[in-house]
Amino acid sequence: MNFKRDIPTRTYSGFALSTLFILTIFNILLETGVTKTQRAGDALLALNGKEGVANAVTSVVVYFRGFDTLGEIAVLFIAALGIGLMLHGNTRSTHEESNYILQKASRLLFPMIMLFGVYVMVYGHLSPGGGFQGGVIIASGILLLLISNETFEIPHAVISALETFAGISYVLIGLIGLLVLDKFLGNFLPNDMAQMGRLFSGGIIPVIYIVVGIKVGSEMGMIVQNLIKRSDDD
């Protein structure tokens, strides 16, 4: 069969899509009516008052479902590995100079972006934010520096070492929790309820989120650097 996409395909797909769409709208409109069921989050919110931190989403991501975050970090690592393997080529030899406005402005903006990224990462358990958000903000700061300055390049050994250190220490913290408390990723640092709302509270939750932030930031920085620098066109 010939799967080419020309104009007649648009009519076929238009018919199919409108049928599916009308059926979906019927299905939705036939079951309106809000019934208040018991939510799974109510029990977790009550438990958060005893063992968690001020930000309930952070304690769910890092402590109550910490193993899922480990799997997510593994998926990110495999994606970065795939990108590093696929893109081949030498670093570019000839570059144009970037714009004058871009050069001057990025020199002013880069420290602010880094400071903001570190703030979002460290205060993740007290206000909205956390490791993922802060790490990607730091990576976008690195991207700004890469496009405004054509001789800037982070050495591959440094990024590799940072990412490896962060990945290993996540598993090590989990294993120490297994030794001390018989529970993988158990909370073995002191966490009193009286400290809720301060910076040093919640046991291992801020430590793990900082480790996650370092890993995500360096991984995204490596992906971005590979996409910009590795090309073999002239």
Binding site: I28, G49, V75, M86
Partner: protein, 131 residues
């Protein structure tokens, strides 16, 4: 007077849920339409990304009660009562990050294929018909 009646009608939970369901399903089918009929391979990736945004909106919009607030203790809130559910927030966080990672991998595949053969049109990409 009519503005007040309209606003208070729109603030009921039933109406907001129907709005969210309908709107996110329309967005999903717009992305689906783009997936079926576009020819450039980068546009196909972008349509899949629009479909993912529609699913996230559907998820969080359907678990939202009108008077409740965000699940964070801040100024004024002292206890974890009448707050939204934190479990779907955590799941959508994970889904957003993984969607971006897979998307970056797909884009790098497309770049390498273009460097190898020079085609971006999805009609010409299949090599099964060539001899």
């Amino acid at each position: 007077m009519m503005i007040d009646a309209l606003l208070s009608y729109l603030n009921q939970e039933d109406v907001i849920r129907t709005l969210v369901d309908t709107g996110s399903m329309i967005l999903f089918f717009i992305g689906f339409f783009g997936l079926l009929t576009q020819r450039h391979i980068i546009k196909i990736f972008m349509s899949v990304s629009v479909m993912e945004v529609a699913v996230f909106l559907f998820f969080i919009g359907n678990l939202f009660h009108v008077g409740f607030t965000a699940p964070i203790l801040g100024d004024g809130h002292d206890a974890f009562v009448s707050m939204n559910d934190p479990i779907p927030h955590a799941m959508i966080l994970t889904a957003i990050v993984i969607g971006m990672a897979v998307f970056a991998l797909g884009v790098s595949f497309a770049i390498e294929y273009y460097k190898l053969t020079g085609r971006t049109d999805i009609n010409d990409i299949s090599e099964m018909g060539e001899r």
